[in-house]
C-alpha cells in the first residue's frame, strides 16, 4: 500500500473514531438539559447558556480529531 492511500485511510479513521465520543457526549448533555428545562421552564435561559458552553467543550475534542486528520491528509 503506498503512502497516499495510507494517508487517506488514516485521515478517515482519525475523524471517524474521533467523532464517536463527542457525539455521544453532546447527546447526553443536551438530553439532560432538555430534561431540566422540562422540569423547570423558568430556568431555561440559565440552563441554555451553560448547555451551550458545555457543548462547545465536548465539541472541542472532536475538533482535535479533525485537526489531526487534516494534518495527516495535507501535511
Amino acid at each position: 500500500m503506498d503512502v497516499e492511500a495510507a494517508k487517506n485511510i488514516a485521515a478517515a479513521i482519525a475523524i471517524g473514531f474521533g467523532a464517536i465520543g463527542p457525539g455521544i457526549g453532546i447527546g447526553i448533555l443536551a438530553a439532560k438539559a432538555m430534561e431540566s428545562i422540562g422540569r423547570n421552564p423558568e430556568a431555561t435561559p440559565k440552563v441554555q447558556a451553560n448547555m451551550i458552553l458545555a457543548i462547545a467543550f465536548a465539541e472541542a475534542v472532536a475538533i482535535y480529531a479533525l485537526v489531526m486528520s487534516l494534518i495527516i491528509k495535507f501535511v
Binding site: I52, L53, A56, F57, A60, I63, Y64, V67, L70, F74
Partner: protein
C-alpha cells in the same frame, strides 16, 4: 481549490512573511479601533443610534461577567480583557464569511510549486494567532492570580504540601494541575483553530461544488460557530480568572 494548514504569504518584508491571515487580523484591528474612536468621539449623555447599540452590548456583557464573578470590583478588573478577546475573536471569525474566501487571490507564486494565495483567510484560521491569544489568556490568569492573592498563596494552590490534610494525594493533584495549565494553552488554541479552519475548509469545498444557494446553510452554521467559539474563549478566560483569584477556605 487550495487547502493548506498554514497561511500563504502575500508578500515578504525582508524575511518576515505577511500572510493573508495576518493581514486580516490587522484589518480587523483597524476596524475595531476605528469604530471605537468614532463612537467615543461623539458621545452624548442621552445616547442615540450607534452609541445605543454599544451601551446595550456593554450592559448585557457586564451582567454576564457579573454572574460569573459575583463581585463588581472583580468584574471591573476582568471586563476589558474578556470583552476585547470576545470582540476580536468574533470579528476575526466572521472574516471567513466575506465573499472571496479562497477564491479571490491573484497572487500565484512559487514555493517549490505554483500555488494561489487567497486574500481572505480568517485570522483565527492561523495557529499563530490562536496560540498567541491562548498564551495571553493563560499568562494573564496566572498574573492576575499572583497580583491579587500574593505569590506564596497562589503557589500553594499548585504545590500543596504533603504534610497537610490530603497527604500526598494533594501534592499529586497539585502537580496534575500544573500540567493541566500547559494543556489549557494547547486546548484553547486548537479549539479555536480547529473550529474556524474546519469551517473554512467546509465553505471552500461547498463553494467549489455548488456556487449558488447550496452553501447558504453552511454560511449560517459558520455565523453561529464563530459566535459560539468567541463566547467560549471569552467565558473560559473569565472562569479561569475567577478561579485564580479565589482562595478556597477549608
Amino acid at each position: 481549490m487550495n487547502i493548506s494548514l498554514e497561511p500563504e504569504a502575500i508578500f515578504h518584508l525582508g524575511s518576515f512573511p505577511f500572510t493573508n491571515s495576518f493581514i486580516m487580523t490587522l484589518v480587523v484591528s483597524v476596524v475595531i479601533i476605528g469604530i471605537s474612536l468614532y463612537v467615543q468621539r461623539n458621545t452624548r449623555l442621552i445616547p442615540r443610534g450607534f452609541q445605543n447599540l454599544f451601551e446595550a452590548m456593554i450592559e448585557y456583557f457586564y451582567g454576564l461577567v457579573d454572574s460569573v464573578t459575583q463581585d463588581r470590583k472583580e468584574t471591573e478588573k476582568f471586563f476589558p480583557l474578556v470583552m476585547t478577546i470576545f470582540i476580536f475573536v468574533i470579528l476575526s471569525n466572521w472574516v471567513e464569511l466575506l465573499p472571496g474566501l479562497g477564491t479571490v487571490g491573484v497572487n500565484e507564486f512559487e514555493k517549490g510549486k505554483l500555488i494561489m494565495a487567497p486574500f481572505i483567510r480568517s485570522g483565527s484560521a492561523d495557529l499563530n494567532t490562536t496560540l498567541a491569544l491562548a498564551l495571553i489568556s493563560v499568562f494573564t490568569v496566572h498574573f492576575m492570580g499572583i497580583t491579587t492573592i500574593g505569590a506564596v498563596k497562589y503557589a500553594k494552590k499548585f504545590l500543596v504540601s504533603p504534610l497537610k490534610k490530603p497527604y500526598f494525594v494533594g501534592t499529586f493533584v497539585g502537580i496534575l494541575e500544573l500540567i493541566s495549565e500547559v494543556a489549557k494553552i494547547i486546548s484553547f488554541s486548537f479549539r479555536l483553530f480547529g473550529n474556524i479552519f474546519a469551517g473554512e475548509v467546509l465553505l471552500i469545498v461547498m463553494l467549489t461544488l455548488v456556487p449558488y444557494f447550496i452553501p447558504l446553510p453552511f454560511l449560517f452554521l459558520e455565523i453561529f460557530v464563530g459566535f459560539v467559539q468567541a463566547l467560549v474563549f471569552a467565558m473560559l478566560t473569565l472562569v479561569f480568572l475567577k478561579t485564580a483569584v479565589t482562595v478556597s477556605e477549608h
